[in-house]
């Protein structure tokens, strides 16, 4: 092959090298420039956190925090608040206290008991387990138990305490979860504070379909996870 012929051979080859080289260099240069200025991809992802629902107003969080602390949830000073404690801690009237829970209607289950009893029936056991399993991102599980006004105040105080503890005992027995100790708060109100009116009969009850009146609905434990980052 002569020199001229070889030159004519080299010209297309030179193009075959130059064109891809220019293209690839340009792309690499662009990639390097983008790498230098763009934020890392992971910064676009949100961070995993506990739930904070819309109903978590500052007032609700303040009350929850007070109850949680005073009733032994956040500290180690024992578990549960009795009616006298609750009144002081909450600093609210009974109706105002109940109103705090209204936005939680979908979350709350009302565990019902026979008169003068604290044992959980089959429906109650199932409801307690469902409520516990329906935790989502919530941080605190509240058991607020009551008694209907029949009988003495002292007897009703003891009865509501036994009802709250029955829920806790079943959770511990069924789930054997160390978090229960840290996350379940008990508040028993007897007949003295924040009695429920019969509108709560429309909420999710362990005895849905059965007769319900103001007395029936107060022979109960009001249980719910609260989706607030406290």
């Amino acid at each position: 092959m002569g020199a001229m012929s070889y030159v004519s051979h080299l010209v297309p080859l030179a193009l075959a090298l130059a064109v891809p080289a220019v293209m690839v260099s340009g792309w690499l240069s662009d990639a390097e420039a983008r790498l230098a200025v763009e934020e890392p991809r992971q910064s676009k992802a949100i961070t995993a956190t506990v739930a904070e629902e819309g109903y978590c107003t500052a007032d609700l969080k303040r009350i929850v925090r007070r109850i949680a602390g005073a009733c032994g949830l956040l500290g180690e000073q024992g578990r549960g608040c009795r009616p006298a404690d609750a009144t002081k801690v909450v600093s609210l009237q009974g109706e105002e206290f109940n109103a705090l829970f209204l936005p939680l209607q979908d979350r709350v289950r009302i565990i019902q008991y026979d008169m003068g009893k604290s044992e959980l029936d089959e429906g109650a056991l199932r409801a307690v387990e469902e409520a516990w399993a329906d935790r989502g991102g919530a941080s605190f599980f509240f058991v607020v138990s009551r008694a209907s006004p029949e009988g003495s105040t002292d007897k009703n105080r003891e009865l509501s305490e036994a009802r709250a503890k029955a829920v806790l005992d079943h959770l511990m027995k069924r789930f054997n979860d160390p978090d229960i100790e840290r996350q379940v708060g008990l508040l028993w109100l007897g007949e003295e504070f924040a009695q429920l009116d019969d509108k709560f009969c429309d909420w999710k009850r362990s005895r849905t379909g059965e007769k319900c009146d103001a007395n029936e609905i107060n022979r109960s434990a009001f249980i719910a996870w609260i989706d607030c980052a406290i």
């Binding site: 891809p20 763009e38 989502g136 979860d177």
Partner: protein, 458 residues
């Protein structure tokens, strides 16, 4: 009998008598090694107007090298598109991948992404971030074939030594295409459109080169053939080698993410016993100590399946002692997502946590049947539950129970306790999180470095 003659555009180099200024008609074909290139052999000869010589005619045979040029340019386009898509990802971001037979067409098939992220898309991945894309040498080879074919097409005195080399050169992309088509069919399970474009261009180039070669008449080409072929092979290799060298020199190398990682596990204790052991990671590798790792997965997440496949294909998974943390992106159980990108993932996660011994089998089943399970999760959760219980009888009675839901919740809380990003997959090696931008193309490079600086589990 043919009258052998120089090309119709005589030049001094076509003559072996440098002093002669006139074309010399030859009665016999030359026998020397250097002579063969000087003779036109494929076109039928015609009488010149003077009637004194036969000269090569422009015939249909001359079109075949040009068709090789067209096919090679087509190969260049597809290779360039693939290379461009690969290089775009070097910035660590997610970009659209060119994926259509007709360039510019809006084919959104996943085949190209699968191919791009597969370990077969590049080589030397542990030595350089992303490795060298195989489409780059392909680009160079097609460019060389196009240039060489154009030269053959322009050449008046085309010979079999030229077309023979062209034919051989086109065999390279044909062989590579056959290999990668086999890989696509057997390993990836899908074909990417641009890859198919390359296969077609390779096949056409070979066919046209074969015809061009057949249409070029046989000549005695002697020992010169091998010398020329070696030279041309060297030219082609030089083009490809230069492109690769250029790539190595210019590819972004300053990556802070590889050195610093993207966070640490702050709470490693698995008090709730919700971490699942990845079975293949427990199998001993002779002479290899393993490094503890945590992979955050959603069983119905295609990217998690992809990461699992990449880890397996890289061989680096064998150096890890992997725990799995389930993080279903399904609002049925995960309060951190407002919709369900992967409906049904909560149920599948429950199944895995219900029977930890069978968890790896459930995960393999979920990965293998993701589309169907996602559809079931979206339209009929009861059917999904029945499907899982039928396939894995040991989870019967557990899936959907309060205890199973509580375990999934604990898994999610493990992520909360470690302030993990709400996404899957995530890979932690020795407690350090590999940045997301390093989990696809850069996985092998990053993981190799993290493994090298981590203490193995004895």
């Amino acid at each position: 009998m043919f009258l052998w003659e120089r090309a119709c555009r005589p030049t001094s180099e076509t003559m072996h008598d440098p002093g002669s200024q006139l074309p010399l008609p030859l009665k016999d074909p030359p026998q020397g090694p250097g002579d063969v290139a000087d003779y036109q052999v494929d076109a039928p000869k015609q009488r010149t107007p003077t009637g004194s010589h036969e000269v090569p005619a422009r015939s249909g045979g001359r079109i075949w090298p040009w068709l090789v040029v067209v096919a090679a340019l087509l190969g260049c386009v597809y290779s360039a598109l693939s290379t461009h898509s690969f290089i775009m990802r070097l910035d660590g971001q997610t970009h659209a991948v060119a994926c259509a037979i007709l360039p510019g067409d809006a084919d959104q098939s996943t085949g190209c992404v699968t191919a791009l992220l597969s370990p077969y898309s590049s080589v030397f991945r542990t030595s350089m971030w992303g490795g060298i894309p195989i489409s780059l040498p392909s680009f160079g080879v097609f460019a060389f074939i196009a240039a060489f074919a154009a030269w053959v097409g322009l050449k008046k005195d085309r010979m079999r030594v030229d077309t023979g080399f062209l034919l051989l050169a086109t065999l390279l992309p044909v062989g590579a295409s056959a290999f990668f088509a086999y890989i696509s069919a057997t390993r990836l399970g899908e074909f990417c459109s641009t890859c198919v474009g390359i296969y077609i261009a390779s096949g056409l180039g070979f066919i046209f080169a074969l015809i061009a070669h057949i249409r070029t008449q046989r000549t005695p080409d002697g020992v010169g053939r091998w010398g020329r072929w070696f030279l041309w092979f060297f030219e082609g290799a030089a083009i490809v080698g230069t492109l690769v060298l250029l790539y190595i020199m210019l590819a972004p190398s300053d990556r802070e993410s590889v050195a610093r990682g993207c966070g640490e596990l702050v709470k490693r204790e698995d008090e709730a016993k919700i971490l699942l052991k990845k079975r293949d990671s427990t199998e001993a590798v002779a002479g290899a100590a393993k490094v503890p790792a945590l992979v955050v997965v959603d069983p119905l997440c295609p990217s998690c399946k992809g990461l699992d496949e990449r880890l397996l294909a890289s061989g680096l998974g064998a150096r890890l002692d992997i725990d799995l943390l389930l993080f279903p992106l399904d609002s049925k159980c995960n309060w951190m997502v407002k919709s369900s990108p992967h409906p049904g993932a909560c149920l599948v996660s429950e199944a895995m946590l219900c029977a930890p011994e069978s968890a790896h089998r459930v995960l393999e089943y979920a990965y293998a049947n993701q589309e169907r399970l996602l559809e079931l999760g979206k339209t009929n959760e009861s059917a999904l539950k029945a499907d899982l219980e039928q396939k894995f009888p040991d989870v019967k009675g557990c899936v959907g129970s309060a205890a199973a839901k509580a375990k999934v919740n604990k898994s999610l809380r493990f992520a909360v306790a470690n302030a993990m990003p709400v996404m899957t997959p995530q890979l932690f090696v020795a407690g350090s999180r590999i940045c997301d931008e390093d989990t696809d193309l850069g996985l092998e490079f990053t993981l190799t470095r993290m493994l090298d600086r981590s203490s193995p589990v004895q």
